[in-house]
Amino acid sequence: MTLERNTLLVALVGALLLPFAVTDQYLLHLAVMALFYVVLATSLNLVVGYVGEFSLGHTAFLGTGAYTAALLSTHAGLPLWITVPVAGLVAAAFGFAIGAITLRLQGPYFVIVTLAFAEVLRLVANNWIAVTNGPMGLAGIGQSGLTDKREFYFVILALAALALYLSYRFVYSNAGRAAVAVRENRYVAQSIGVDPFGAAMQAFVLGAFMAGLAGGFYAHYISFVGPEVFQFAFMATIIIMVLMGGKGTLVGPIVGAVIVTLLEEYLREVQELRLTLFGLIVMAIVLFLPNGLMGFVARRREQHGSTILRNTPAEEKTV
């Protein structure tokens, strides 16, 4: 717990200093995208890592957030600091509605239905041309006076810090512990009075809220939103980040988001080869690093700790 908190604080300080060390616009853009994915991976991790249900519909919230911000900005001309929080709230409302339906299901059914919701929203975005402008998408979203990449960087850093703070508070709250108890053993948790649905619902809505914030930011930053935000490819990227870093840890998704963003960018030259490699990486992670990089680190620490423990009594005997 303290290790996790300290790591997060160090990372925050490092992230705050970064734009003063880096002036290259391209590198700043990469940093902005990495932080954007940090928010998304953190929000998905709440559901996948702590509730233990595998949601494939997280893009539903990213997309509703992005479209909300885009519509508010293009039609009402509202600035970023209004549209992004509203985007978060709208996504949270969607999260509540979708969660109320899907969290009654478990396992493969949950997976398929969350995916079905995201697909329905994608099709709606594609076909409800009067509002969403269909496949053409909404372009020319205002940037609210933010011109410099550095300013955008601080906005997304604030959002990432908020997302991690909220996650941290959730994970170490009673609701978070209840969710973990349900994840580990549903029946034991129920027998001691934990309401599985309630715990899962809190995580789900919180995750939706963060994904909505990220979506709202994305709309302003890219200044274009199309139905692609609901696409499965987006979803796959976020999942890979969470798993590569280590689900069920707060630091893991950050590590995963940074690594995958950089990999995606530097392998951009070779589009299909990049994704082919991605597929192989995903399979390798599932087979060889089932708990992600952070899980690997934690296991090494445990092994290290236990060898010390095993050695001490042996030494005492020889003395």
Partner: protein
């Protein structure tokens, strides 16, 4: 009224196609409980291989179909023994990830090799319309429906009447008891996966002769197949057929009378409703908690 019959016929044909493409998933998802996101890619590989063996190796359609089936059965067997087996018994999640990884790999490796352009598989005979009263269907569609029906029947007989089929049913009821009774469950799992993979590839090649084979078609096929399997009830062939027909007719009617744009939404809405009100599927007799 004429149009109604035509829509119904279209719906039945499309529904039969859906049922056919979902058969493999009925085995792999319905019986083995592997949430196989690579299903659509097996289907796609069937189409692409079908194009390869007919256009490049110059085999005739049915010979090519047999070759594709054999290749994909081998691939399915290997995938199960080398990948799926290692995460068996760990819940659904590792299987989901593994198959997502596999599907990303297969799509993009295929794109690297053959490119994104659609490939036409030469049909068994020349295409032409068939008039049945007021309804028009094309010959190749009828052939696909017929071969599909034969595949469904064959798979059904295999599972109900053969030794392997009996071993499969025993294994999926209780793997421990099955292995105590001397069934080599590893082989049974691999055989089931191979069979599912083969059925997916067969439907991919058949339908590539009606439409065309394309490297990126897999995602859509996976989704529709999940819809069909859940609609019909897990692991039931009859259910898959009924689910496919239901989806096909619902889409044809919606497309004909309401709006064409949102046709694909219907399947997802049906699935959401089914899981809420009848999670065991419309046709599955066994009550099962979702």
């Amino acid at each position: 009224m004429d149009l109604f019959l035509q829509y119904l016929a279209n719906g039945l044909v499309i529904g039969a196609f859906y049922a056919l493409s979902a058969l493999g998933l009925t085995l792999i998802f319905g019986l083995m409980r592997v949430v196989n996101f690579a299903h659509g890619e097996f289907y796609m590989l069937g189409g692409v291989l079908g194009w390869f063996v007919t256009a490049h190796l110059g085999l005739n359609f049915f010979l090519g179909l047999a070759l594709v089936a054999a290749t994909m059965a081998t691939l399915g067997w290997l995938v199960d023994r080398f990948l799926i087996e290692r995460v068996r018994g760990q819940g659904e999640e590792p299987g989901i990830l593994l198959t997502i990884g596999l599907s990303i790999f297969l799509v993009n490796a295929t794109l690297l090799v053959v490119g994104p352009a659609p490939m036409k598989v030469a049909g068994a005979f020349a295409e032409g319309p068939v008039f049945i009263g007021p309804i028009i269907v094309t010959k190749l569609r009828l052939l696909a429906v017929a071969v599909g029906a034969a595949a469904i029947l064959a798979a059904h007989l295999l599972i109900r009447r053969t030794r392997l089929g009996r071993a499969m049913r025993a294994t999926f009821q209780d793997p421990m008891a099955a292995s105590l009774a001397g069934i080599r469950t590893k082989h049974v799992y691999a055989a089931t996966f191979a069979l599912g993979c083969t059925l997916a590839a067969l439907s991919g090649m058949l339908l590539a002769s009606v439409y065309s084979a394309q490297a990126s078609i897999g995602g859509l096929v996976s989704l529709k197949s999940f819809v069909v399997v859940i609609l019909g009830g897990m692991g039931s062939f009859a259910g898959a057929v009924a689910g496919g027909l239901l989806l096909g007719i619902a889409e044809a009617m919606w497309g004909g009378y309401v709006a064409t744009g949102m046709v694909d939404v219907i399947g997802f809405v049906l699935v959401i409703l089914i899981l809420l009100f009848r999670p065991q599927g419309i046709f599955s007799a066994r009550a099962e908690r979702a």
